[in-house]
Amino acid sequence: MSRDEKPSLAVWKFASCDGCQLTLLDCEDELLAVAERLELAYFLEASSAVVAGPYDVSLVEGSITTPDDVERIQEVRRQSRFLVTIGACATAGGIQALRNFGDVQELMRIVYATPSFLSTLETSTPISDHVPVDFELRGCPIDRHQLLEVISAYLAGRAPVIASHSVCIECKQKTNVCVLVAHGTACLGPVTHAGCGALCPTFHRGCYGCFGPAETANTGSMATALAAQGMGDQEMDRLFHTFNAWSEPFRSAPVPVDPPKRRGR
């Protein structure tokens, strides 16, 4: 395949920490193969050499937090044939969406010496609130194997194999011991979207939900179980409201179901 025939790839950044686009650079063993198949046309984190659009594939990192972002994402969409949002900021609004639960004006006065220099929105919102998105890749940060899967699937013209079920299935496939049941460790795995390979439970830590809600996540029942283990309201509020705080049903959690405690809890 000649260089001219390669599909072009662009990587865009909105409100984010850069960790997700760094995941692409972190694909050290596969990076040459990626560059072989795709023209890295716009990727400021890697190179200041920029090729003009339009682009075949755009990876979009970050959330929409400023009036300028609102305009720019429209232009990114216009320039992109296939738009993939990567990470919790782009798919859920990120940790910065905690502002959505409070008063942004007050936060600005507390944090900045001269808030009048700022131009910001009241909310931090996912890309899909503003433009149509072709595929969403979850995680804070994203998993590099999943990123490579999305790229490989695009190149082969097939659907990516990205499961939207719970982290529990990944845990059981790795024969991890359930930290929630066996150790009494608070774990959001049952309501959290798979994709990390059950990273935290593999190291005997509870899942803190950085991939956001799984399909049909039952946060009400989860909250009831955590409360029965002795977790207080404030602790539970913090557990559900981190990187994917603005994603339903994490956003409105915890609302425990049916108060009576279950047997054995």
Binding site: S152, C178, D258, K261
Partner: protein, 376 residues
């Protein structure tokens, strides 16, 4: 013929099985639970450990004795050794215009399972019905199941979530083993009674130091069995199962759906759940692709995804499908119950949903009946 093993008898059995070139898998203590893993000697077994299991709760506990099998269902079942979590089915490679397809030969590692409980023996029989159907034999399962040597263990201490006596699958192994052990421990004496269930089991037993069991030993074994039956933590009534299947509009289905996380833990730990998905992958160069079989669960949306969406989009419909397949339609399909009463789905449900409790509630027409055992 029942024998009583000498002091080092169990270790001799492990040694003899290893000498046959077998990988011996047995219960071990790991990460705060009793699970299964490869063992090198009898010293790897959970001597001195038991556990407390309840709905959504598991706690390892010391026995204060030197008993080896003083626990009930380990956290994992045996199915992963016969039907692994991930199996490569096909690897394809493109060289210029030619696609080479390589279908790996199923692995057939010689194995021995040590410590198989009666419920899990029944589960192996269920898996055999599914995977060794003459019309649709699964090559992976068939190769691995091959000549697995099975050392069963009679359950002396059923857990709080056990109900094998309801399912007529235990607590004492009746068939399907090469050797069956019963541990008898009463202060002064600590004996392992062993019975051969096959010719090769008898041959192996003959290699090990043992003496013939006395009438007293056999009587003690009977007492131990009776105590185990009496100590069964849960019960599932077969007429309740029939009644539970009758009313698809029973309010209890809504109630359990409100609690169910659809996380799929129950199906993952179930010793008979056998569903899988097929995943295709391609590499970045576009020259290599693979097809894998991976464990799947009827609790995921993808499981029934057809064009346009999932057939069972509600958790209610998925829970109902799972429960009624396991307990009712499995009989039509495989001429056996899909449930063997091991209790793992109860213990390892993060919110402690108990199928025995759900079935009992579903069997009642009065929806106001309070949940059995619900905390005050």
């Amino acid at each position: 013929m029942v024998q009583v093993l000498g002091a080092g008898g169990l270790d001799e059995i492990v040694r003899a099985l290893r000498a046959q070139g077998r990988t011996v898998v047995g219960p071990v203590v790991r990460d705060g639970v009793i699970t299964h893993d490869v063992i090198d000697s009898a010293a790897d077994l959970p001597r001195g450990w038991t556990e407390e299991q309840d709905a959504g709760r598991y706690q390892l506990a010391p026995t204060g004795t030197d008993e080896i099998f003083a626990f009930s269902s380990p956290s994992t079942s045996w199915k992963r050794y016969l039907y692994p979590e991930r199996t490569l089915l096909i690897r394809a490679r493109r060289r210029r215009d030619v696609v080479e397809i390589h279908e790996p030969e199923p692995e057939a590692p010689p194995m021995a399972f040590l410590g198989v409980r009666s419920c899990d023996l029944a589960a192996l029989d269920v898996l055999d019905r599914v995977f060794l159907d003459p019309d649709a034999t699964d090559p992976t399962y068939a190769a691995r199941r091959g000549d697995v040597f099975i050392v069963a263990v009679a359950c002396s201490f059923p857990g709080n979530t056990c109900f094998c006596s309801s399912m007529d699958t235990g607590p004492t192994p009746r068939s399907g083993f090469d050797l069956a052990i019963r541990e008898l421990h009463d202060g002064a004496s600590h004996d392992l009674l062993v019975e051969a269930g096959s010719t090769r089991g008898a041959a192996l037993l003959a290699e090990v130091e043992s003496r013939a069991a006395s009438d007293t030993d056999v009587a003690r074994a009977g007492d131990s069995h009776d105590r185990a039956v009496a100590g069964m933590g849960r019960r599932l009534r077969s007429d309740d199962i029939q009644r539970a299947a009758l009313d698809p509009d029973h309010p209890r289905w809504d109630d359990v759906a409100q609690r169910c996380l659809a996380c799929a833990n129950c199906t993952m730990v179930c010793p008979t759940c056998f569903c899988s998905a097929t995943e295709d992958s391609t590499d970045l160069t576009g020259t290599e692709s693979e097809r894998w079989r991976v464990w799947d669960s009827c609790f995921t949306l993808d499981f029934t995804h057809l064009h346009g969406g999932s057939v069972r989009s509600s958790t209610r419909s998925r829970y109902r499908q799972w429960l009624l397949h396991k307990l009712v339609t499995w009989h039509d399909q495989f001429d056996a119950s899909g449930c063997v009463g091991c209790g793992r789905c109860i213990t390892w449900c993060p919110v402690g949903i108990d199928l025995t409790e759900e079935v009992a509630a579903l069997a009642r027409s009065d929806e106001s009946v309070p949940r059995e055992g619900a905390a005050p």
